[in-house]
Amino acid sequence: MKKRMFIVLALVATLVVGLSAQKKLTVWCWDPNFNVYAMKQAAAVYNKTHPKVTIEIVDMAQDIEAKIISGLQAGGAGLPDIALFQDFRIEQFLHDYPKAFVDLKAAGVDYSKFAAYKVGPMTVGDHVYGIPFDTGSTGLWLRTDYMKAAGLNPDDYMGKDLTWSDVIKLGETVKAKTGKPLLAYQSDNFDMLRIVVQSTGGQFFKPDGSLDLHSLAFEKSLALFKELNDKGLLYPVVGWSDWINAINSDKSAGFLNAIWMVGSVKSRPANAGKYMIIPTPRIEGVPGAANASNNGGSSWYVFSSSPNKARAVDFLKSVWATDTPDNEAFYNEILKGAGAMGTFLPCQTGSNYTAPDDFFYKSQPIYKDFAAWMKDVPVLRYTPNYVPMRDAVAHATLGYFQGKYKTIDETISAAEAEYKQVMGQ
């Protein structure tokens, strides 16, 4: 009797162990129209050769970093095997939690095949921790239907390197005729300001990592934003999803953001044929300013607390970092499907990289354009303290818009003060 019981127990135990050891990987990322989509495609590619591995992709929305911080503090509790990190955020994590991530260079990833600027933020000494995902090459997205309604010919603007004064003129015309502000704008968000400052080649930090906001680039950018705001060319909202919503419910005649907006714009069929994307406008009077910039961009990391890290590394390596026809087709697919432009150089040769896209005005070959602009983007220094800087600058800028700070100098001082306070300096 006892023996039989023991056998049953042993069977149950093996079954339980077997089930829990079932090949499952969990991935955290954050945007169903973008990186969640891309990772699902990657999982499908991996499943062709590894049919028994289940890859669960979880949309963690904007809580992802908070949950990761809590999980790391708890010694890995609740953490997934793989997570996506913003390039601007990872330096903080590598700095604060040096043992939390698997060294992928040691695991044999060849980083010479990735865009060099992506590898910088994920490198600490001889260790490299991530698999680069996408680029955030930016452009000015314009609604050609509103331009036409305002009596403008979109073709006159197509592919033109505009200055911001040209854009303000354009915006004033559109606003006067259609009532639509030119740009949907997240009023306490940093993205647009970053795009403009980066386009000038400006930096927020000195090479030694200390804050530096007293630059011509930053001051000019602030002045530009104030002008856009005062002329009613911004449609302000709070929060990412409300911003997307403003765009997809025709509240503005355009926006300034990166290639990865393709997914969100395409998620609304009524946008078909309406958008064209022109180079990021250039700011006048700043030497070195370019008609190109970057926003976002993220990369995949494996947690060292993961019991499945070998498999997780294998998955990332074999789909995202190996040059095979399947992978090339995959990179090609996510480019058109979601605007996810990979940074694995051998796979940047797919047909979609040059093909026209019927969803856009006059079938603009937008990927070709974004890729071309990418080459001119000045590199931005992130440092582990990017987030406190970002928040401080965004908050001060809104204060400037709403009259709390009267001058640019006051605004910069306020941003510096908040940065110091949050940093505890």
């Binding site: 949950k67 999980g71 708890a74 997307i244 969100s264």
Partner: protein
């Protein structure tokens, strides 16, 4: 009573004010129900007539957001908190009230003192403690700290005061043990008190946000408030499905309220937040 008196300007004003207050109070409920039938864009624009997306919103809430699981998680956590909470706090209130001792009164005084401590001051050490015991991201982490409630002990103790000690004495004479006096004689006659305490505990847990926000890390452990909050944090908000989840999270409380108004109000009046 003359007609002019009945419809004086003052009276009309009173009726108008009350009607306005009632409409403002009820309107968001109406709007939230209509919202379950609209597409996300119409929810945002504030359309007030029902649309056609009820089924698709519902399906989305169930499939994409796992509404049944969130509901079950919330219910499980709230019910377990109520069950353990009634036992632990009821017993403690009984002990404090019916077995008077100076030492226990001092302890009770210490308990009352901690009522002024806001939750935010406790969450950091508690987070570290649960992390240490490897209990983060479990429902136990949500249930355990909310079982003992100083307020509920206080509230129940006040009510136990009204239970005549003579009845206990009589039972003792009949040979009943203390524990069986509590279980068989005292508890059954305090049903109203227990009901109010249960409602208070249930509401507190069903609606709790800060502590679950800190301890829940993964999707499958989420409660309804956490699910709603993280939907609001998403890169694309599905407002229709969100409205379905909002309705589902309000519904049990509404039913509880309408069916047990008296205990409900007694439970709420007690809730010193």
């Amino acid at each position: 009573m003359s007609v002019t008196r009945r419809w004086s300007a003052g009276r009309i004003l009173v009726i108008l004010i009350l009607a306005l207050a009632a409409v403002i109070s009820v309107f968001p409920f109406y709007w939230m129900i209509v919202g379950t039938t609209l597409n996300p864009n119409d929810v945002l624009r504030g359309i007030l007539v029902p649309g056609r997306d009820f089924v698709s919103n519902w399906l989305q809430a169930v499939k994409n957001y796992n509404l049944p699981l969130f509901f079950f998680n919330s219910l499980k956590i709230a019910v377990l908190t109520v069950v353990f909470g009634l036992v632990v706090n009821g017993l403690a209130a009984f002990g404090f009230e019916k077995y008077p001792s100076k030492a226990r009164d001092k302890v009770f005084g210490v308990l009352l003192l901690t009522l002024i401590i806001p939750q935010i001051a406790l969450v950091i050490p508690m987070f570290r403690m649960f992390a240490f015991f490897d209990l983060l991201n479990t429902h136990a982490a949500i249930i355990l700290p909310s079982i003992m409630s100083v307020f509920i002990i206080f509230f129940m103790r006040q009510n136990f005061k009204m239970f005549p000690t003579e009845i206990m004495e009589a039972a003792r004479v009949d040979g009943a043990g203390e524990f069986s006096i509590f279980v068989r004689i005292v508890t059954p006659s305090m049903q109203a008190t227990y009901a109010s305490a249960a409602i208070y505990l249930f509401l507190g847990q069903w609606n709790s946000y800060l502590w679950p926000l800190i301890t829940i890390l993964t999707d499958t452990k989420k409660t309804l408030p956490i699910a709603m909050a993280s939907m609001m944090n998403a890169y694309t908000i599905e407002y229709g499905a969100l409205m379905v989840i909002v309705c589902i999270s309000v519904l049990p409380v509404l039913v509880l309220f309408l069916s047990m108004q008296k205990q409900f109000v007694a439970g709420l009046l007690g809730s010193v937040k």
